[in-house]
Symmetry: C2
Subunit: 345 residues, 2 copies
């Protein structure tokens, strides 16, 4: 099949790939480079300091996270989207990675080429009620859980997040600690992770940026011995932390549409112990890459079994399911479906 001419629109917030945090940018980069590697003609719409093998169309030299005069950010994001749609004739498809909410919907009926979108959060009913003004607008869901939340919209395909498994080094023999990695919010369950680790009698390392919820609810539980806060970590340290952990604790309280840290930990060979919320069951293969538990009691009781899983097999399954190639193939399949739908309108 002939290569596709693809406009891939990342947020204008920060460069692609991101210097530090920015999971949307990370995914945008992996997908862009993966599409280029497959021979597609990709134009990446992103800040000018992005690094890519695609053609780069940059409205501004850098992202609005780094320049407080670039305000309001919504205007930047919007005109950045418009810049891609204005070039619609040059592309077979426009795909938008929506960092916040899919402003791209506004162009659904004004573009001369299909505008499609991936959202990266778990949209609520108030949001999707509005979005259903455009029932034809193509969405690519990142999980069945998210597809369920997008009911009534044109969910063309479900393509799980990919990760660059080459960069997540496998480690056969871990150190003697458990790991919590993610933002300090009630929804991510850091307090529950501490409780589980204490009850299991295993040291817990917490890695995330210090936020208000950390100071209010988490810090009082940190003793520097059994519960250790290591701060916000960069990529290299993150990989080392994953690899050294006997298990990743993921006692998530609010439903998440994916769970990128699960895939990342697994790629390092580290099994995961997670609560059964949101997309967790889709990401974790029970008894192979981890355990999925109904509540914290069950998680504590099942932790030994999780830590006993074969780390090499954990890694292999992660590569198979969340490797970049799988994601890229999924997106190309989705793009071709969207173009087909558009032509047969």
């Amino acid at each position: 099949m002939r290569p596709l001419k693809i406009a891939h629109v990342a947020p204008l917030a920060t460069r692609v790939p991101p210097a530090r945090s920015g999971s949307v940018q990370q995914m945008a980069s992996l997908l862009t480079e993966g599409l280029v590697a497959q021979g597609h003609d990709v134009t990446l719409f992103a800040p000018g300091d992005s690094v890519t093998k695609a053609k780069l169309d940059a409205m501004t030299p850098r992202g609005y996270w780094h320049d407080e005069t670039m305000w309001p950010w919504e205007m930047y994001e919007l005109l950045h989207l418009a810049a891609a749609v204005e070039r619609a004739d040059a592309f077979d498809i426009i795909h938008v990675e929506a960092g916040y909410y899919p402003m791209s919907l506004a162009f659904t009926r004004l573009s001369r080429t299909p505008v499609s979108q991936t959202v990266h959060h778990a949209p609520g009913p108030a949001e999707t009620t509005l979005w259903r003004r455009y029932p034809e607008a193509p969405f690519i869901a990142i999980s069945q859980e998210q597809a369920r939340l997008l009911a009534g919209l044109n969910v063309v395909d479900i393509v799980p997040h990919g990760i660059d498994t080459n960069r997540f080094a496998f480690r056969e023999t871990p150190d003697d600690y458990l790991l919590f990695l993610g933002r300090f919010t009630p929804g991510k369950g850091p307090v529950q992770a501490i409780e589980a680790a204490r009850r299991a009698g295993i040291r817990l390392l917490l890695a995330a940026a210090e936020e208000q919820y950390y100071r209010e609810a988490v810090a009082p539980l940190v003793d520097g011995k059994e519960v250790v806060y290591v701060g916000e970590v960069d990529f290299e340290v993150k990989v080392r932390l994953y690899g050294g952990a006997r298990a990743l604790l993921y006692p998530v309280q609010a439903g998440e549409p994916f769970g990128l840290v699960l895939a990342e930990a697994m790629a390092c060979g580290t099994p995961v112990a997670a609560l059964d919320r949101g997309a967790v069951r889709e990401v974790v293969d029970e008894g192979i890459t981890g355990g999925v538990f109904a509540d914290l009691d069950a998680m504590v009781a099942g932790l030994d079994a999780v830590m006993a899983l074969d780390r090499r097999r954990v890694r292999e399954r992660a590569v198979e399911r969340f490797g970049v190639a799988t994601m890229v193939d999924g997106y190309v399949r989705a793009f071709r479906t969207i173009i087909e739908q558009w032509r047969s309108r």
Copy 2:
């Protein structure tokens, strides 16, 4: 000349005309009804509870100020704009009253009919730097002051705000007080109004919604005798307050692009004493409708002369300059210029 087919897009925030506050909605209503009265074919894009003689195209039954599930408001505003642009073929021109910032710019090159806009604030250089990505996008400025701030953009015409002078009853003989009316912000100068009134030895009434700045900086200066806070007032009370005032004090600290309360007070026959900032000099005819002063000392010294101005002549000048008919004529002239520019691209 043949009547125009006009899409007039008000914000989706609250109904047109507004139930209480909402100067953008007020102007949108006056302009819409004035255009209809002149025989133009107008479609008003506004919340469903709006009241108009135009055709009403309502995306939602009411505005997002009144329903917290209508969030984020930017998505509502954006899809509301898109709804008008999607119907571009039905109109000679689309005109957008931008309540916050002109998201309409995103449609400049995607619409099949010209998209024009009026902004209602004083844009800063950071904003207009971004907007200049669309140097062809037609703006209608509300004052020379605002046109100056819009330098480098396609400012097609300058049309001052109109007010419904029939609703601002003239009063020949006022009571014995001065009036401050407007929001309690440092930029509006309520503290300076109090100082001026005290020094002049005349009672001051303050009318505005209670905000944080009121509690922090203004309330301690209110004694209930010489400085009286009357709260937020509805339209009828506002007109009575204007009419009863010997003068409106407008010691504005930050440059404003217009000054609607100046025109409203004048329409009631009440002269104004204002500081020389922003568009004040364009709205006030010195020695006829009020005085424009360099600083507060000059304002206090000149207050007697302002209060001595002929109230009937103040009213007449206000009707002449800020009557709805003048605004409507100005917009029709601007619309025809924009359509002409578009055709000769």
